[in-house]
Amino acid sequence: MTFDQVLEAVSGEPAYRSSRWATQTVDHVVTCDLMSDVLVTDHDEILLVTSLPSDQVARTADMVGACGVVLVNGKPPQPSLVELCTHLDLTLILSPLGSFEASWRLGQRLLGRV
C-alpha cells in the first residue's frame, strides 16, 4: 500500500509528507493510543494509527522505525507535533475517521479487498 492509497483509505490530508512518500510501501498497521504498547511491537516500518496528538507520538514512531503516523478522530495536531514530524522526516496524515473505521479501511486495503 502506498501513502497515496493510505490517504485515500482514511479520507485524510497530509500534515507532512516525508521524503519517502512516493517510494514507501506500507505493509503493517498498528492502531494504538498507548505508546507503551507501540514500543513492544516488533514489525519494522509500521504505520501508526492513533488519536493521541502529542509530541511523544512522533518520538515513539521514530524509535520503532515507523514509516508514518495517521492521527484520527479529526484531531488537530499540536504545532510541535507537526514540527517534530518534519524534523524527523516522518509522514503525518490527519484523518476525520475514528480509529476503528480508519483501521478497518486500511485493513481492507492491505488484504486487497478494495
Partner: protein
C-alpha cells in the same frame, strides 16, 4: 519579601520554581493545637519550638491560626488564659501541598504574610511554609542541580578513545517538551555509524523506555550513552525515589503511573520489562531514598547467546 519575580527570571530558575512543589520545601512536622487550648499554652509552644505562628485544628482539619501578634495583644489586654478559639484568625489563606513553589512566592508577595499553612487534598494540615523555607528550598535545589551539571560536564570532558562515542544527557522530571530528545540523538549516532536498522531500533527503544521512566517516575537523572563498534550501552541514573520492589517493577503490566501519565500514552507497566526484552545485557539496581541505576546493552556485532 522573596526577591524573585516569577515572570522575569532566568529560565533555569523559572523551571525550578514551577517544578518544585510546596511539599518539597515546607516544614512537615508542624506543632498544632486544638481550639480550646489557652493562649498561654500556645505562647509556651511558640517559645519552646521557636515558631511565630501555631495552627489550630479540629479533627485534623485546619480551623484557625494564632500568631505572635495575637499573643502580644492578649498579654497587653489581659486575656492570655482565654482559649484559642475566641481570638484565632479564621480567614486563612492556605496553600496546597501539590502547588508549585511559584504559587507560594506569589502568595508571599500578594498577602505579605510571614507563613502559610499547607493542606493536602483531604484538607488536612500537613505543613507550614515560610519565606525562609522558600529561599532555603530553592538554594538546596539549585545546589543539587549545579552539582549534577558539574558531574555531567566532567563526564563529557573525559577524552573519548578513537571509534568510541560517549554522550551524557540531563533528564528532568515531567519535562515532556524534551522527553525523547536524548534517544533521538542516540538513534542518529547509530544511523551515522551505519548500524543495522534492527539494532538501531533495539537500542533506541531501550533508551526511550529508560528516558521516559526518568521523566515519568524519577526526580530527574542522567542518560548516558557509550557506543563503540561492539555495543551500545545505555545507562539511566536517577536521584530517587528508588524502587521498593524490583520484582514487581520487572513484571509486565505493573505500574505506579498516575492517570496523567497514562493520558500521555505511557504507564502501561512495560518500560523496564521491554527494556530488558530488547537488550542483550540488562542490569537494574535500586535503593529506596537514594535512586535507581539501569544498564542496558545492545550488541552491535553478533555474540554467542544473543537474542535473535
Amino acid at each position: 519579601m522573596i526577591p524573585i519575580d516569577p515572570n522575569a527570571s532566568p529560565s533555569a530558575l523559572l523551571e525550578l520554581i514551577y517544578r518544585l512543589k510546596v511539599k518539597d520545601i515546607m516544614t512537615g512536622q508542624v506543632k498544632s493545637v486544638e481550639k480550646d487550648t489557652s493562649l498561654r499554652e500556645i505562647q509556651r509552644i511558640m517559645r519552646e519550638n521557636k515558631v511565630s505562628g501555631v495552627p489550630i485544628v479540629e479533627d485534623g482539619r485546619l480551623v484557625g491560626m494564632i500568631s505572635v501578634d495575637d499573643i502580644i495583644r492578649a498579654l497587653d489586654q489581659g486575656y492570655i488564659d482565654s482559649p484559642a478559639v475566641v481570638h484565632m484568625s479564621r480567614k486563612l489563606v492556605v496553600l496546597e501541598d501539590d502547588m508549585p513553589v511559584s504559587f507560594a512566592i506569589s502568595s508571599f508577595e500578594k498577602y505579605q504574610y510571614g507563613r502559610f499553612p499547607v493542606i493536602n487534598r483531604a484538607r488536612e494540615l500537613v505543613g507550614i511554609v515560610t519565606s525562609r523555607d522558600v529561599t532555603s528550598g530553592l538554594l538546596l535545589e539549585m545546589n543539587r542541580s549545579l552539582e549534577e551539571m558539574e558531574r555531567v560536564l566532567n563526564l563529557q570532558a573525559s577524552p573519548e578513545p578513537i571509534g568510541q562515542v560517549k554522550r551524557v544527557f540531563l533528564v528532568q522530571q515531567f519535562d515532556y517538551e524534551n522527553a525523547g530528545r536524548a534517544s533521538t540523538e542516540l538513534k542518529k549516532i547509530l544511523q551515522d555509524r551505519g548500524v543495522d536498522r534492527a539494532l538501531q531500533r533495539k537500542a533506541a527503544v531501550a533508551s526511550y523506555e529508560l528516558e521516559m521512566n526518568l521523566v515519568n517516575h524519577s526526580l530527574g537523572g542522567r542518560l548516558i550513552f557509550h557506543i563503540d563498534d561492539e555495543k551500545a550501552t545505555i545507562e539511566a541514573v536517577d536521584q530517587g525515589p528508588g524502587i521498593p520492589d524490583l520484582a514487581k517493577a520487572m513484571t509486565e503490566g505493573f505500574s505506579t503511573a498516575n492517570d496523567w501519565i497514562r493520558s500521555l500514552g505511557f504507564g502501561a507497566g512495560m518500560g523496564l520489562p521491554n527494556t530488558k526484552r530488547v537488550s542483550d545485557e540488562f542490569d537494574l539496581q535500586s535503593t529506596v531514598g537514594k535512586g535507581t541505576q539501569v544498564r542496558a546493552v545492545v550488541h552491535l556485532k553478533p555474540q554467542p547467546g544473543d537474542k535473535p
